[in-house]
Symmetry: C2
Subunit: 317 residues, 2 copies
């Protein structure tokens, strides 16, 4: 279950034409603010608004004919749901997404908009139980949100593109939930830029990977309460964690209070809409939780944010 650079290069070939090669933006204002030369990999401008499409498309396109016929299932109320739905639509694979019944209507609609069937579950039911029952009943393949080598390899293509487009980097800073993006980017970066200092950033309330990284073993936390909804994971996985241990140099965290102004700075100064999770890496640089040096790659992982929510937050921040 190891993931190597060859897996990422193969994933990159597979997703070509389907995933977007997202732009790498620079900003002299950001450079002045941080005191380093920053290269922003804009996965908020990826299809469906987040890097998740890379991994989902890479995973679905490797299914055999029999599995494709049966279809795939994912449980997520976030970007993974839309990523699997869109990848399925493009590949002609039926998709079933399991979501909590109280998921925002905008997310239910968006996922259905990509052609997925959505099944909701009540607050008295366990998501895993519902998903397992449905997968068994329908004989569908479950696509996990991060803990799978095909998902990790797909996410790693973001760092491959960034290094190809920005050139050598001294440091790479990546948002971290279950570490699918972080571990994939770490594999690609360690191969292409061996000396690069690789940092993962989590919300302070959801520091499962940071705790695990420091303990040297997987630590499980309670479901975290954070505005970084893409990083509400309770533990890294058996695929992602060994890669983090092997290739990542540093883990850092930022609080929601630190995250929000950094996020709006990106909106106001760089003219891009970034979701809270997507702004984690940049927030760590703004707050000096991570000390930037030289040429720094900053992954902005997604831009799926409810503008109504953002408008309300803006009034408060």
């Amino acid at each position: 279950m190891r993931v190597t650079y060859a897996d990422i290069a193969a994933a990159h070939e597979r997703i070509k034409g389907a995933a977007r090669r997202t732009p790498v933006l620079t900003s002299s204002s950001a450079d002045a603010l941080i005191g380093a030369e920053l290269f922003f990999k804009c996965e908020n401008l990826q299809r469906m608004g987040a890097f998740k499409f890379r991994g989902a498309y890479n995973a679905l396109s490797q299914l055999g004919p029999e599995e494709r016929k049966r279809g795939v299932l994912a449980f997520s109320s976030g970007n993974h749901a839309q990523a699997v739905a869109l990848a399925g639509k493009l590949l002609g694979i039926k998709t079933l997404i399991v979501m909590p019944e109280n998921a925002p209507k905008v997310k239910l609609d968006a996922t259905r908009g990509y052609g997925a069937e959505v099944v909701t579950y009540g607050k008295d039911e366990e998501r895993e139980t519902v998903a397992a029952r449905l997968a068994k009943e329908r004989g569908m393949v479950t696509i996990p949100p991060f803990n799978h080598p095909h998902i990790v390899a797909g996410q790693g293509t973001a760092a491959k593109e960034l290094l190809e487009d920005a050139g050598a980097l001294d440091m790479l800073v990546v948002p971290c939930g279950g570490a699918g993006l972080l571990s994939g980017c770490a594999v690609a970066t360690r191969h292409l830029a061996p000396q690069c200092h690789i940092v993962g950033v989590e919300p302070a309330a959801g520091d499962d990977v940071t705790q695990s990284f420091r303990a040297g073993k997987i630590v499980t936390i309670a479901v975290p309460d954070t505005i970084a909804d893409g990083a509400r994971t309770t533990a890294p996985g058996s695929v992602t964690f060994p890669l983090v241990q092997r290739y990542v140099n540093e883990m850092a965290t930022v609080t929601d209070e630190e995250l929000l102004p950094a996020m709006f700075w990106l909106w106001e100064r760089m003219k891009i809409v970034v979701e809270p999770t997507g702004a984690l890496a940049f927030a760590a640089l703004v707050t000096k939780k991570v000390k930037a040096k030289g040429r720094v790659g900053v992954v902005l992982s997604g831009g799926n944010v409810d503008l109504r929510w953002a408008a309300a937050q803006f009034g408060k921040h």
Copy 2:
């Protein structure tokens, strides 16, 4: 005072390395909404957040040593001010910006942040009078916001890049204030894609170019009241209008009420911050004021919007 494609090609060489080659984004959601294949030229991601930097840099870099020493003056409370200030900073030319004393503090600060001296005038004074007096006193060259061949040629580089990056276009839709951007883009496009249908879009309240286009002569209107603050012009100029007459196929207008939802659609679905003026062209397509056909270039001219204002508007729209 004609502007030719050769002027635009020369301007493009001049601004290389200083101006950004902004990305051309695509969106399957936008294509589905409009029923055409759209290519968004993202000048909101240009330096200082708008296309204005292209023209300002092109104009300032053509000043002689004597003029450079004396410095330049511009009157603007908007993107032109920041464009001239930044171009001056990069070229080592002193800049003086004349702004109304009630201009938003954020704009005063941003302009000063680029190193410009800012002089404000009260509501009892005429902007032109103040500017003319200062220009005379200090011997400075005035850089007009749109009605100058060097400004027009600089703005035309946006369409040149768009056509180079997107390939052949059947239609090009461009926001229009004083028609600096529109006329420059029209010159470039008529040369590179002779059959392309070229459309300018104004706010309904500020339809000076549309009225002039239809009347076949320059029509002057009262200072318009519109949220599209980059298009509050009262008349096209002696340089821009003949180019509009010669090369533009169609003019259209959208109301502020039509503009706002189209602008927020770009924020929410394409994850980019676009200012009201910047969303004019897209709004005309959304509302079918302009009927899209085939491969359509859409210029998003800028992204300088006060988030506090936008958050308040979002609650209302």
